[in-house]
Symmetry: D2
């Protein structure tokens, strides 16, 4: 299990798994196993735990370690396991990576440290210090809404010369940024460029991106895998039709309730309605109450996800 | 000239024309005529004057009127003329529209009033007051970086029921936003959805958008028109190849100098190097000095735009 | 009337007058005269028309000129008249200043051009071009929430060496910024440093600032003048007591309704309740409806402004 | 040591201590003791460890615990010890508080969880869940530049009814916010309102605030204590004179280098030049190099801090 050689570039659909919880500090272990089987059965090409969708920053270190251990165990070598090690503390990021390697994970994923506003030169230096201490290959994670920092294209290009950095997940929702990276990495076909927001998966794949780390693939993995497959075949009509489904999911399941957490709440609520796992959420969030849950149920039914 | 019936939806490439200037308050009339001929010869489907690329907010009202008059005259009915009437003053927006109609323009384009931060309900009410006073059909213009305000998808959808609003130009560079609008307007095939940033033109067209209002089409109109034509034929390989050219333009010609005005300065400098028009810029900007101009020359040469 | 020598530094309370309107393009002339008499009777040291509080960017140029003419006429030389000439167009700013001088105004006030995001070097160059064309002395106006741009302290210090720039109004609500300016201008006792948000008037005056351009002084001029007078006498207890009244105004009259325009709507509504002038607002705003008006009435009564 | 009854409201100068480091994960223990003695000798009324100035988010949990233990030990009951427990993880915040109580600390300080953008209702609920689990009284910490979230005044007022919340540190640099809180807490004289940015200490104290948690008090504790004492005596002239010194520190020692981390780097560099403790910084930062260090030396000499 694990420690396989990752394909370079890593391609396909890698769902950023939610972390099923029974309470703030207890993993819903059975639900987690069910979820992992659900997405692997749906054809995904890897799994990513402890990302934003996994509520990683809200979890205790103890629980994060449990998630790492369990995900490697439940994946059982069927697909690569990527682990989020983003942290404000350099030392804790290293610790999480070391533990991930021990558990048999395949790679780690890192957003910029998200408390202090560092400059680009500082971010590059940070990576130069960090990567040699990591026991696994690293994907960068561009996530400016939550970290306040962008990995500028030139920083990414410079960082990619550090051995061990093998790709980037971009959750900026800014395709201008993504296309500029694609141009910068034109001669580096081994470097994975993956997109976060699923609403941008179709265009990412049509225009040469390698895949998506898309939250909706928790819920409906085969939809995203089908887009990937259709894009591989250059079947534009199918991509377009499935893309519209994705936008329907986004405009309904992720658009209930207020605040910017609707995506995460809708996703967990949906998984609970599908009887896959618990929808408990770690502070500062709260699972949807009855009325919002009813809205999600209707959306899922109307989308055909729930019979 | 003008007052033709606009196609619904308006489709294709409509360059947001730069305003060639001899000094802060003097139009480079000859250059403007040359520019309009250049883009029409390149196959564009319309022209848009007095947008952000046209530095409209920096121009005096007298000069804005001259630009309107001349653009209608120089276009001579060959393609539709769209006129930007964005203003912080409701009354001045109406005045500019009235004058545009008198000159024979075909439509107007309006961003939210950009000084006071209005709410969405206020923006909708603003449009409800404004549109009945407009003598021409209206495109909304979503441009949050410069106006601080977003036309939220639900506001656009509600506004689209006001007779006279016929489309939207989105310069947010946020394709999640654009795709949500596409879904909302699925049953309104007559409503134009056009994209501003040219880096997003390929995906916009591949996934059902109607066209682009792309600055680069001042410089190299046939490139953008070719993407449009290839996308119409669903020729994915050609779209991809041309898309890469667009990203090269963006990563070179628009990336010289500092500040966020590099795009505008690079564009005007390029047009001057092509001997189309003057590169004078209205305050608060300044045309590129010798060193930056030399960089632009190299980029244009390397792109094959300048022999 | 007008063209008097302004005191250097200009000190005291200079209300940024609201623009009383009968409709979008019609001045409530009688109300405007009443308002000017009201504030002068309250002891203010000058008036400032066509600022943010005056809704200047929302008014037509014709109307702005009428406001300039009438304010000089109604002030009748009793206090200096400052005129806002902030505009996205350099040429229009110059035109407004020329007209202000013709009407007998004493100085003009300018925020950065607020559509294009200029850099600091560009802002300085902008002022270097502009000031020689101005017929009146100039106050800079730092207003980042509305203009997106800050006049950085070093830019202000450099600009202050251009003859004709005589002070700054800071509406950033950032007293760290204000204190840094005070230090930079320690040897330039002639340069006025005035504060916008009235909630910061007390501390500004106690720590060496010269005065306030405070909206509340439309409504209750003597309150702000009394703070100024108490601060001049170093009467800390009185300043503190009156300061608390100011915070009460701010926490009640400016806090009705939603959106960031509550201040402006509350102020105009209050003036209407005092029978001073009309509360019509230019687009994109709307005057308070009955329910909100009732809240304002209660607040004014409870503050003792309305009997 | 510790567990004394805190004065209510807590008043005075409470320096947010830097964390002296030998490397990323090693405390400069001797330096830390020296620093604590330095500030207590300077007359401070408490110490605050593991705040932003303490680089807490950049430190490992192991090291944070060491800092807690040592600070209580070195303070030795001479002044109250406040401990920052801000964390993205609810569980880890509780853990840090429990450990702080065991070590004899007097109170804890908490900013909003800073990864996910929570709404105000969620923040309030977060506090309602958290406070009952805390073994020590709690100060809220408003720090929007780093956390992206504001504790809105109405949220603070509601939270203050939860037994155990005893005050707030405001680092927003927005005195309008601070004054609105003061009005809301007019009848709650036991609730401490403390200001973060030292540039705002003078006005905070003159207008009724209780004290400051000011970084400069690491370097020059007696300056800030003197302002506090002068303000207590209502000695406005002395406050003003000392306030100007504070602005000089801020405009020189905190203004070397680029990025927004100049404050922290300048402070640690200054402490090293005073031979108090090491200037090593945790990632993502780096201590000042020779040239910047030389600038800091000159500034300290010119201020009279370094002979």
């Amino acid at each position: 299990m694990g420690n396989k050689v990752l394909p370079k570039p890593l391609m396909g659909i890698i769902p950023p798994l939610v972390t099923p919880l029974l309470d703030s500090d207890t993993l819903d272990t059975a639900g987690f196993q069910k979820l992992i089987n659900h997405v692997i059965d749906g054809g995904v090409h890897g799994i990513f735990v402890l990302g934003t969708t996994g509520e990683a920053p809200s979890l205790s270190y103890r629980l994060r370690k449990e998630v790492i251990k369990r995900s490697c165990e439940f994946a059982g070598g069927r697909v690569p396991v990527l682990v989020g090690i983003s942290d404000t503390s350099f030392v804790e990021s290293v610790n999480l990576c070391t533990y991930s390697a021990e558990c048999g994970a395949d790679a780690v994923v890192l957003a910029p440290p998200f408390y202090f506003p560092a400059g680009q030169a500082e971010l590059l230096e940070y990576l130069q210090h960090l990567v040699p201490k990591l026991a696994l290959p690293l994907f960068l994670y561009n996530m400016p809404t939550h970290t306040k920092l962008v990995f500028e294209p030139s920083t990414v290009r410079a960082a990619a010369d550090i051995p061990g950095i093998i790709g980037l997940k971009d959750s900026s929702a800014n395709m201008v940024y993504f296309h500029k990276l694609q141009l910068l990495f034109k001669e580096r076909a081994d470097f994975s460029l993956l997109v976060g927001p699923e609403e941008l998966l179709a265009e990412t794949l049509l225009l040469g991106g390698h895949g998506g780390i898309n939250g909706g693939a928790n819920l409906w993995p085969s939809l995203y895998v089908s887009i990937y497959n259709a894009a591989q075949k250059r079947d534009l009509d199918t991509v377009m039709k499935l893309h519209e489904k994705v936008i329907q999911v986004s405009s309904s399941v992720y658009s209930v309730g207020k605040y910017s957490s609707s995506y995460l709440k809708g996703l967990k609520c949906g998984l609970s309605l599908l009887n896959i796992c618990s929808d408990f959420m770690a502070e500062p969030f709260h699972k949807f109450r009855a009325e919002e849950r009813e809205s999600i149920r209707k959306h899922l039914t109307s989308l055909g996800i729930l019979k």
